[in-house]
Structure formats: structure tokens, C-alpha cells
Assembly symmetry: C2
Homo-oligomer: 277 residues x 2
């Protein structure tokens, strides 16, 4: 692991690091915020999975999360959204290839070799983080934005007991049935057998398993991508399952980080309650 930068931030340290990932077979970059409390021992951690076109940097600089992570004594991890670099395939579309890993393990075509973001965020990077930093593996929570909200929800439901709580900002909720943000990418990454897609679909997973812990989802009503995100699909599944959850439709908010930053305080307080409780 190499240190790209470390900056003092709200009494803690905002670092950026690179490492050779076994999952993706590439060098990966991530951001990690450690609050001041980490000087006295391991702190709980909130994973933040970012959306399409993002790197490790977007949420790290735009979400305003460090202010509240510092207050609640919580580490933050900001993974990248795909492998990158020489030899890594890409696509002209902003929503395929680099910057658009969709948090799946690709099995098809040119993608299968490097696009293993599921393993990266659930195994490879956690292994590095818990072995390197004063972060408490027994106190984890996860959140994300858009494609990263999809990642947070699917990861949380797939590892029962790992995360105390899950939240999401404007998540893609039902990619298996969304042509633009889902079917196109799943076909490319996973192939045409749709029975393999459900493991990466929050609505499908909600119907099958749900999440054993508190769940918070914020969705702006002026989001320009509402038809791709399909909040109604997950809302229906949550209600039908009687899943403990708070779903908030935030009037007038769009898909931007101005929306995320407006509610990050609530999300971090929500996770802090679950983690410290």
C-alpha cells in the first residue's frame, strides 16, 4: 500500500492510498478518513460506495461526511467505482466500463478479468483496511449514492451480520428491469442468463432476504434519473416484506451531491446510533 496524501481534516486525517488489488488485478485507489478518536483505538467504519463516473474522490470531497464522522468518531472508506489503468477495458458510454463497475463480479467478455468490484469492496479492500488501520471490523455500516446505493443495499443484504445498518442516497433499486442503468450493463458484465442477475438487484434481494437491521433511504423528488432508479420498486418490496426501514422522498432535490450533502448528517447520525448502540 502506498500513501498518496494525508491531510488533517476535522481533527482527524483524510488519506488517499493505492494498493495492488488481488480482486481486480490492478492498482486501486481509495480514500480513508480516520477521526481523532482512532488515536485511542479502533473506531467503527462507514463504507461509502459512489456512483457512475465517480472515482474515490467525489464523495470524499463533495459529500461533507467528515464533519459528522469526526463528531461521531467514525472512519469513512471511499472506494473507487471500477478498475482503471493500462490494459483495463473501457466503453465510450459513461455508464459502462471504467467508472461504472456496478459492484458486480463480471463473468463475460473483456470485463471478466478486471471488473470484480463485488469482491473488491466486500473482501479485498476490507482485508487491507482492517489489517492496516485502527478500524473495528465488528462495527461496520454501509451507504452509497446512485450506483453506489445499489452497491450498498445489495452488499448489506448479502452479508447478514456484517453491517449494523445500511443507507442509500437515490439508489438504483431494480437494475434487472431498468434498460438504461441495469439490463445493458448486466448483459455485458454477467451475460444473458437473467437468473444470475438477481444477486445484484436490491429489489430482488429485498423480496428474498431483506436486511436484519435499520435501513434509511433518501430520494429526491426532482431527481433527473427517477425513471432509472425506480424507487417505487424497492418501496413496494420493503412494504410487502415489512422490512424495518425509513424511506424519505425529499421534495425538490435532484441527483447531485448538493442532495447528498444536504442529508449526510442524518445518515451518519443514523449509522452512529446503530454502531454505538
Amino acid at each position: 500500500m502506498k500513501t498518496v496524501s494525508e491531510s488533517r481534516c476535522f481533527g482527524g486525517v483524510q488519506g488517499v492510498y493505492t494498493h495492488a488489488s488481488q480482486a481486480t488485478g490492478t492498482e486501486m485507489t481509495f480514500g480513508l478518513f480516520l477521526p481523532e478518536q482512532a488515536e485511542d483505538g479502533p473506531v467503527p467504519v462507514l463504507w461509502f460506495l459512489a456512483g457512475l463516473t465517480c472515482t474515490h474522490e467525489n464523495a470524499m470531497i463533495k459529500a461533507g461526511a467528515q464533519r459528522w464522522a469526526a463528531e461521531y468518531g467514525m472512519a469513512l472508506v471511499f472506494p473507487d467505482t471500477s478498475p482503471r489503468g493500462p490494459g483495463v477495458p473501457n466503453d465510450e458510454a459513461y455508464d459502462m466500463g471504467q467508472g461504472a463497475g456496478f459492484y458486480v463480479n463480471a463473468t463475460e467478455g473483456p470485463w471478466a478479468k478486471h471488473f470484480r468490484m463485488w469482491d473488491y469492496v466486500t473482501d479485498d479492500l476490507p482485508h487491507l483496511v482492517f489489517n492496516t488501520f485502527p478500524v473495528d471490523e465488528s462495527r461496520q455500516a454501509i451507504t452509497g449514492h446512485s450506483m453506489g446505493g445499489h452497491g450498498a443495499l445489495t452488499v448489506a443484504m448479502s452479508f447478514p451480520g456484517r453491517f449494523a445498518s445500511v443507507s442509500a442516497f437515490a439508489p438504483m433499486t431494480n437494475p434487472s428491469v431498468c434498460e438504461e442503468w441495469g439490463r445493458r450493463q448486466f448483459t455485458a458484465y454477467l451475460g444473458r442468463d437473467e437468473s444470475l442477475w438477481g444477486q445484484y438487484d436490491a429489489t430482488v434481494l429485498m423480496r428474498k432476504r431483506g436486511f436484519d437491521g435499520p435501513m434509511l433511504i433518501d430520494q429526491g423528488t426532482a431527481d433527473q434519473f427517477l425513471e432509472h432508479l425506480r424507487p417505487e420498486a424497492l418501496a413496494t418490496a420493503v412494504a410487502e416484506r415489512r422490512q424495518g426501514a425509513i424511506l424519505r422522498l425529499q421534495k425538490g432535490y435532484d441527483h447531485s451531491y448538493f442532495f447528498v450533502s444536504s442529508f449526510i448528517e442524518d445518515h451518519i447520525a443514523f449509522h452512529a446510533t446503530a454502531l454505538h448502540g
Copy 2:
């Protein structure tokens, strides 16, 4: 004026706008945050002048200012740092030309025609803002980062009575005597007659005039540009003048927006006290 985007943000609106500037003779872009309180009538305003290489966007997305501006009912204006576009001269160095207007009215060479950022931030843009938005011209404060801290301090001291308070993050304080960030640019923009430089030098202005209101300056002790910023020059001038001021050296913080965002809450609370008091 044209609207580039408007996003709901902390109950208010974060807008980005362009307009034809008389001062620079170019199209200029700026960000403006209006808190929810502006729906009920004009609100006070805090100007945020950004640093080298920045556009209107950097502080708008990285400083975390909207959270606190919303709480205190304050508008925020984020001007660009230079003219841009076809026909506008530039320089290969990151600290000359586009992105490096230094908040002066250039009089020399290729710069004189467009590089009139002093007039832009003190006359042209205020005129537009106060005639277009529910912002109260009688309740203004100003802050800035690095080159923008230099801008905030020099503008505040040059318009007595206009600003209730001034603050700065890691400001350039004494550009007339700093070769790297000051003398090189002032020579290019203003010419070799150094007697014309003092009007744009916060330390010189502090010795001559000071500021009739509260002043807050934060400076990180791990700032990689300390030798260019020269906090000791302004500190000496402040102390010798008995200027009412709070100068804080923040241990371990560098020059980044991780530093700015760590203390923006304090700065906005500080300005709110001056503006609402």
C-alpha cells in the same frame, strides 16, 4: 444572465449562472447559494473568493459552506478567479493568467483588457447579484482561501463600511514581497512601479488602514505553501496596529479544502454574529 443549473441544497437553492461581464469583457460564471430564508425576504451574504487554479466550482462543492449558510440564513456567492474563454490570454504556469486573476485590475501587456477581477468582484458582480436575487446589500461579509484570502482581505480593507466582517483561510498576506506568489504576477499585471502594488497587499493595507470590524484568519501549520503565504507579515501588522482580529494557527492542517471545510463552520458562525448582531 443565464441559469446553468439550480439544485436544491439544505432547503435552499445552489445555483450556477453565467453573465456578460462589463468589467472583464467576457462571459463569467458564478455560483450562488440562497438559503430557504430568502423566500421571506432579502438575506445577508457572504462572498467566498477562491484560490489559484479554482473556478466558481471548487469552494462551492468542497468547502461544505452551505450547511452552515442554511442554518444562519445567509447567501453565499462563489465568483470565478479570472476571465476565461476565447481571446483571453493565458500562461503556462498554474499561477499566472486564467485561474490566477489575483483580484487586481491589470494595467499591463496582454492582461489589461480582460484581467479586471478587482472591478469584477467589487462592482460588476455585486451589481448583478443585488439587482437579481433577494440578497441584502447592507449586510455583507467576505472570506476567501489562499489567493482568495488575499482578495477578501484587500477588498474588505478598501471599502470601509461595506463589509461587517472579514475572514480568510491560509491567505496570501504580503504578495509585494513574495517572489513566487506576488512579485512575478504583480510585475506582469501591474508593471514595475511597485508603488502601485500596495493597494493589493493585505499587509500594506493593514499598516495603512486596517479594517473597521471583526477579522478572523485561520492558517494551517503544515501548509505546504507557508513561505509564500507569509502569515507572520500580516500577524505583525495586525499586532502593531492593534487591529481587532483572531489569528489562529491550526496545528497539522495543510493548504487543502480539507483544511477549509474543517473550519468553515466557525467562519460562517463568526460572520453570522457580525451580520445579524
